[in-house]
């Protein structure tokens, strides 16, 4: 593992300097540092979610349009367990276990139901969870949502480092998965399921594996979301807007690549910045318009995502 991590860093020397800057960043004492850290934390969360989506959709070719279901379920289970005043670790594990169960079902469905039809099933599942969280007031308190007990509060610096570590771990994990047998099986399923079958690939096994890995990753982000935001409401985690943002990060960065979602974070930072400057008051809505325009322009001119800029340069050299 250590050797692999070293190889990965050596193979991607460009990562080292930004990584060191990020590690040192919270030590700088300036007024807007809190704002910067929050901005980075939000984009880290979306990068991680996009990486998780990337496993299913980018590698395995299973277009999940209900990815917020994994994320939201993770967040809800985490906060429920925390409200029982158990250790955080238990909360995270319980959330991951619940997601594994859901992912097993989704994976099993994906063997039978393909393409756009699979997308619809995941969409329906996410909507089901949204309505459940809104209506099952006895457990979820409905639209008011749940609040994390005070004792689990963490300061912003710690949260930042956790987010940074999680992102680094996810990127590295995705890299390892892509290089491993699992990654090869995933992309083979995406490219041609019939041929993969004839070469001895157990379709059901690997699709369920992809679903479970992806769901556990999203679940971890969900748990982190609870620690960071300290509360959960249905619209914040279970709506299609969340899924859409995840997909946008992956697409804008470059779908099906390891580094793409990292670049896609740019779009989230942009979104948060515009909202920070223009949001609220009588201009609510304006940030969303600008964001939408930028998104459409990026995709119109760089259909393969931001990563294609770097690829293009490498080829020219």
């Amino acid at each position: 593992m250590g050797g692999k991590a070293k190889d990965f860093l050596m193979g991607n020397k460009a990562v080292i300097v930004p990584l060191l800057i990020l590690i040192a960043l919270p030590l700088v004492q300036i007024d807007i540092m809190a704002f910067i850290l929050n901005l980075l934390i939000v984009s880290f969360m979306y990068v991680c979610l996009a990486q998780s989506w990337n496993i299913l959709a980018g590698f395995c070719g299973l277009l999940s349009m209900g990815h917020c279901a994994f994320f939201g379920l993770g967040a809800y289970i985490t906060i429920m367990v925390l409200n029982l005043h158990l250790n955080i670790v238990w909360a995270i594990l319980a959330a991951a276990a619940a997601n594994m169960a859901l992912a097993y079902i989704v994976g099993a469905i994906s063997v039978r139901v393909k393409d756009i039809f699979f997308a619809m099933v995941t969409l329906a599942l996410a909507q089901l969870l949204y309505n459940l969280s809104m209506q099952w007031v006895e457990v979820t308190r409905g639209p008011r949502g749940l609040i994390m007990p005070q004792i689990y509060m963490m300061d912003r610096q710690t949260l930042f480092y956790i987010a940074l570590a999680m992102t680094a771990l996810f990127v590295f994990a995705i890299h390892v998965i892509r290089e491993s047998r699992m990654g090869t099986m995933f992309v083979a399923l995406r490219e041609n399921e019939d041929l993969a079958k004839s070469l001895g690939v157990n379709v059901a096994k690997w699709k369920i594996a992809a679903s479970v890995v992806s769901a556990v990753m999203a679940s971890l982000v969900g748990s982190y979301y609870v620690l960071y935001i300290r509360s959960v409401q249905p619209p914040a985690v279970f709506t299609f807007n969340v899924t859409m943002k995840i997909m946008i990060v992956a697409f804008v960065g470059g779908k099906g690549t390891v580094k793409g979602p990292l670049l896609g974070a740019v779009i989230i930072i942009l979104d948060e910045l515009i909202r920070g400057w223009l949001g609220g008051g009588r201009y609510s809505g304006l940030p969303g318009i600008i964001y939408g325009i930028i998104l459409a322009l990026v995709i119109l001119f760089l259909p393969n995502g931001l990563i294609s800029i770097f690829r293009g340069r490498r080829k020219a050299a």
Partner: protein, 288 residues
């Protein structure tokens, strides 16, 4: 069990059916885009929302009169969607189209928030009811059902009888072949896309008569059109209309059974149908 006598049950079912007619109309328009033109349009719900808003303001503020307004709205939707299809969607792959329409959806939704505020608005029409043997039928809803069916039949006739409709069908079936016999496939696709938007705006006008509108409502209609269109069999216009009716009735029944979990049950049923019959209840036989 529910303490309901026969006429009240019938009342609920029939009014559900009538609402379902409007669902069926916009789902048909969506299934035409998604199944026949291969454009997965994520801005569909937002355009529907916008049409609802415009109709709302026509009623309450502008006083233009219904006929000039409808004609103007149809023209606007036709032109705008033609331009979107021509300059943004055509000749791109499915995924790119998805993201572009998502961007358009964001723009419309946020523009609505900016211009119309995020509070819900409704026309608040008090519906007159016709009573037949104790069964109360809401008049407006009945008119909506009839209108939806009429528009769909009209669209069907347009595809079957007119020259433009025939070329559209030719392009849908064999794009390259149509090109070879001298049909400009891309332009025909753009026109077809624009026609589907006229149907969309018509359903927007009807929806505001029945329901309230807010900027985020587009997401709900987007979801409903997706699911109804899949259940009806992708690309099957009639199937989409009938599953729209089905969903209207289903929602009414579920609401009657448990208003708390009606939507949960609805999406559970959607998921189960999709798993058991992945190609939908009325799948086209030609697609294998």
């Amino acid at each position: 069990m529910f303490n309901l006598d026969f006429p009240s049950v019938m009342t609920i079912l029939i009014n559900g059916l009538c609402t379902g007619g409007v669902y069926g109309l916009f789902a048909s328009s969506f299934t035409f885009q998604c199944g026949s033109l291969n454009i997965t349009d994520f801005s569909f719900g937002s355009w529907l929302m916008l049409a609802m808003y415009l109709t709302f303001f026509m009623y309450t503020g502008w006083q233009t009169g219904i006929v000039p307004f409808v004609i103007l709205l149809f023209l606007c939707y036709f032109t705008i969607s033609f331009l979107i299809s021509r300059f943004m969607l055509s000749k791109r792959d499915e995924f790119t189209n998805m993201i572009i329409t998502m961007g358009i959806s964001l723009i419309i939704q946020n523009a609505a928030t900016l211009l119309f505020s995020s509070s819900p608005r409704s026309l608040g029409i008090i519906e007159r009811t016709i009573s037949i043997g104790g069964v109360q039928i809401m008049q407006t809803r009945l008119i909506m059902l009839v209108l939806s069916a009429a528009i769909l039949i009209g669209f069907h006739a347009f595809l079957k009888r007119t020259w433009t409709g025939k070329t559209i069908r030719a392009v849908i079936q064999r794009k390259e072949m149509a090109y070879l016999i001298g049909i400009n496939s891309d332009r025909v696709k753009n026109v077809a896309f624009a026609v589907s938007y006229v149907m969309l705006s018509a359903s927007g006008i009807m929806l505001i008569v029945l329901f309230s509108v807010e900027p985020t409502i587009g997401g709900f209609y987007q979801m409903m059109s997706f699911l109804i269109c899949i259940i009806g069999g992708l690309g099957n216009l009639k199937g989409a209309f009938f599953s729209g009716l089905l969903v209207g009735v289903l929602i009414a029944v579920l609401n009657m059974m448990s208003s708390q979990f009606a939507m949960v049950l609805l999406f559970l049923i959607f998921a189960i149908i999709l798993v058991v019959r992945p190609r939908g209840l009325f799948a086209l036989k030609s697609r294998s």
